[in-house]
Subunit: 254 residues, 2 copies
């Protein structure tokens, strides 16, 4: 039987430890092709490159997979892989493992999740994985079995049409992880606080900083599951229509 | 009575005719502050600037509004305006008028709509406007009354919590526009086709190109309304959870 074809991408760049771990985990499940950004692309959301050109290189990294680095965003990587690199439609697209959380509202800023969403728009099965640890030497191995199990389940039972998965993993040892919980996106936002500085020429400049404000303690929210030691799985859709408000809005616009 | 405070932004850049028209339309409704990108930001989606710094300038343009250009993305503009520029929370945030459609799946690639979504995340009333005409000298005046009416309706009757509006305007004369229709996002996607070229040094490079594939002829889809000469209004939400699939997914992950 043909092994599943798995496309791997991320937003931290092709050499990030998070994606190299994910590649190793997926090599045990299928034939892996990596098309990932040649530079860090965190916070790029669903950006695509339309006013600049793209280049790509096949690069040589350890393992049986093929690795291609692209000079674009995570969404560019998915589009480019489908049009120019992959021999056929992949059976699964996985993105990550992100260095840092993409739970709750972070799903809309995340390049990792935008790559998974783009794959969903293309009609493919897709999962984004993120570990709640920003450090470059984070221990991605603790969640290996969980990540492989989630990927296998999706390969065996296709996701509902128009849905991809947002998987976040708490920073815990394997034995401390309590299991997996299917959740909704917690209601939360970033409270921004631009850090003002003065450059050597006397001109003001700013760094975007802020803190994450979780306003949602519901049992079924992803932030709650993570805080309680569970891996959270949120089914994410890209039909952004607020269907439940259509009638109200029709009256309002009369 | 205090006039409403209206923040205006876009993704085509602060000098684009689309935003200058929108500013003029809003000046007749409230006190306008413009915080918009200093350069074109089309296709930037929900990108934020986290690995670079930002600078801004107050610039002088015709009209009673205040204009600030920021060296960032549309989403950066909303965040920066709220934290550093506006004297209080604005009563309305409008983004656009985009040069080109942001109907259907384009909502997720669009910097124009991402600015409106960011304002929604911040708990503000927000609308993105787009005209189905890419040209720089498009005639934005034909839809002036519609745009002002939609803005006034939102100021008078706040939108449901967690919802912003995606307004697309057909390229028609005022008398040809049939009216306004509240719609759902049409099911559609871009079929990408990267254009391969050779640079003067013999290396391949690529331009992202493609065509828009509308797979949805439903009467209630935004593409249908636009094709029939209506202005489409889609209520857009940023809780991306596929709530209707939670139970199914829980069983699948057991």
């Amino acid at each position: 039987m043909q092994k599943p074809l798995i496309l791997v991408t991320n937003d931290d760049g092709i050499t990030a430890p998070g994606i190299r771990n994910l590649v190793n985990f997926m090599n045990e499940i299928g034939d892996v092709v990596v098309v990932a950004p040649d530079s860090p692309q965190s916070g790029k959301g669903h950006a695509i490159t339309i006013n600049q050109t793209l280049t790509f290189e096949e690069i040589s990294l350890d393992g049986p997979q093929k690795d291609y680095s692209l000079s674009g965003t995570p969404v560019d990587c998915v589009k480019f892989a489908l049009d120019k690199i992959l021999p056929r439609k992949p059976d699964l697209v996985v993105s990550g493992i992100n260095h840092g959380a993409n739970s709750s509202i972070n799903v809309i800023y995340s390049g990792t999740m935008s790559a998974a969403v783009e794959a969903g728009v293309e009609g493919l099965q897709a999962i984004g994985f993120s570990l709640l640890d920003f450090s470059w030497d984070a221990d991605f191995s603790q969640a290996k079995e969980y990540i492989q199990n989630i990927a296998k389940k999706v390969l065996e039972n296709p996701l509902p049409k128009g849905v991809v998965l947002n998987v976040n993993i708490p920073k815990l040892l394997k034995d401390e992880i309590k299991g997996v919980k299917v959740c909704r996106q917690a209601h939360a936002k970033w409270e921004e606080n631009f850090d003002e500085r003065i450059n050597p020429h006397g001109k003001k400049y700013y760094w975007l900083t802020g803190y994450f404000n979780n306003m949602d303690t519901g049992d079924d929210a992803d932030e709650t599951a993570l805080a309680n030691g569970y891996i959270s799985i949120v089914p994410v859709k890209f039909d952004l229509t607020a269907h439940e408000e259509l009638e109200h809005l029709r009256k309002m616009m009369e």
